[in-house]
């Protein structure tokens, strides 16, 4: 334990700084193919493990369970189901959002995994709700997960 302490709070200095830089992430071998399909064809693809048989969404280069290389890609459709959801009322800075934001994990039939995304065009959400991807117009797509604007409920 030190022999001396700061006893006047005005003498306790602090120093401001940051660790900020610009980053440019390659989408990777699997990510690029996946997001290109969304950008160019508005298609959501999965990758099938030749050993485990499961279809991964998002697709990946390898099976995380057995390390097989995944080479067979399949279209999983743009319709899925809400597996779980939440309604956020604050943003990352802790400020109240003008309008609460619904997030959900959307699962696709026969698929391992799914997509985490926003839910739009509704205030209501529940587990098991059927939803469909709403893509941005082709001209606005950039091969990003945000090329899907959100998922919206499908009317029965």
């Amino acid at each position: 334990m030190s022999l001396e302490k700061i006893t006047n709070p005005l003498n306790a200095r602090h120093w401001l700084g940051h660790m900020e830089a610009d980053y440019r992430y390659t989408l990777g071998v699997a990510g690029e193919r996946f997001l290109k399909e969304i950008k160019e064809n508005a298609r959501i693809m999965g990758a099938k493990c030749p050993k485990c048989g499961v279809i991964f969404v998002p697709p990946r280069l390898y099976c995380e369970k057995c390390f097989a290389k995944l080479e067979e890609w399949v279209d999983v459709g743009k319709r899925g189901e809400v597996y779980t959801y939440t309604v956020a009322t604050i943003d990352v800075d802790g400020k109240k959002l003008d309008k609460p934001q619904i997030y959900a994990l959307i699962k696709f039939e026969g698929v391992h995994g799914g997509l985490i995304h926003r839910i739009g065009e509704t205030d209501k959400v529940y587990i098991g709700m059927k939803v469909e991807a709403v893509f941005k117009p082709p001209s606005e797509r950039k091969a990003s997960i945000n090329d899907i604007a959100y998922f919206k409920p499908i009317e029965h």
């Binding site: 700084g17 660790m19 610009d22 980053y23 992430y25 990777g28 071998v29 699997a30 390390f67 290389k69």
Partner: protein, 388 residues
Amino acid sequence: MFGKKRVAIVGAGITLFRRNLKETGKELAYHAAKMALEQAGMELRDIQSVVMGTAPDAFDGVHMKGEYLADGAGAYHKPYTRVFVGGGTGVFTPLAGWWHVASGKFDTCLVVCEEKMSSCYPHPQYAFTTIFDPILERPIGMNLIWIFALEMHRYMHKHNIKKEDIALVSVKNKRNALDNPIAQLGANITVEDVLNSEIMAWPVQRLDVSPTSDGAAAVVLVSEDVAKEVTDNPVWIDGVGWCIDSTHWTNRDLYYPDYVEYAARMAYKMAGIKNPPKEIDVAEPYDPFDYKELHHMEGLLLCRKGEAPKLTREGVTQRDGDLPVCPSGGLLGCGNPIAAAGLMKVCEIFWQLRGEAGKRQVPGDPRTGVAQAWGDLMQYGSVIVLRR
């Protein structure tokens, strides 16, 4: 015996080292890990534990990047730990793998190192500005090259070493790298090329320095029992050592890396090595800058203080010399994806001791090799001794 289990390396894998690779960090880790498993004749399900080594999060641009990389490293549903000692990480990570197995807690451990430096844009150099003290050092604009230049200058001053002698390291390693299929910068260059290259921070010039890179490497570690089952040709981890010096690098004489010597002594003691120059057949000291190879040869007690330039001049450290140093081509020739580059050195010793290094094979049937990495603020030494 539960403790002091002997630990073997039975497989190694590596990706290309390049300025920019298309793969994500996870994908790079996967390629290296998968290759290491294939070389070991093992599958992911045979692996009981995983250790990751990767340098600052500020390169890949992901906070807690060990967690992010876990699936690529094969850690799905497994005990997984990331260790991090700056530039020393690549050689340190198999040391962490060693205690996973030597403790008796696991029979197998997959050791993976990854670096994707190109994510930091426009230049990975920027990530290095935050390795310095934020109050006393960052405000004067410290950058990474400066601290190497300060050390190099002190080393040259203390032993009256000429830049010509130091440049020979760059010439040797870049030439060795011509025989290395993963290498980024293999080349036939001359001492004059080094001396005429652009001044970065005198005495450091462009060709004194290794480049930034993307890449990954991996090794599979197993206990003696498992080693007997999977291979006739295991390479044993017989010595491990590591040491960190004080944070206050401006209070130390940078001319000599005490921390490397301490780490080396720890590893040699465990391996029963009494006379390193005689007993070690091949060495891979850390060479992110040409003078660093010399500095580290001295710290590894492969020669006396200030003597490494002479050995280099005399050709002792050439691939066919008495003590081949960096036959891989080192970081100067292969590239420097930090943690992966350190583990590349361990892979190289593994291949050299198994006689699998092809065109890079050092003559004389080497039996004992040492790899070493350096890190932090002129502060960290990690050392591994391997034996056939």
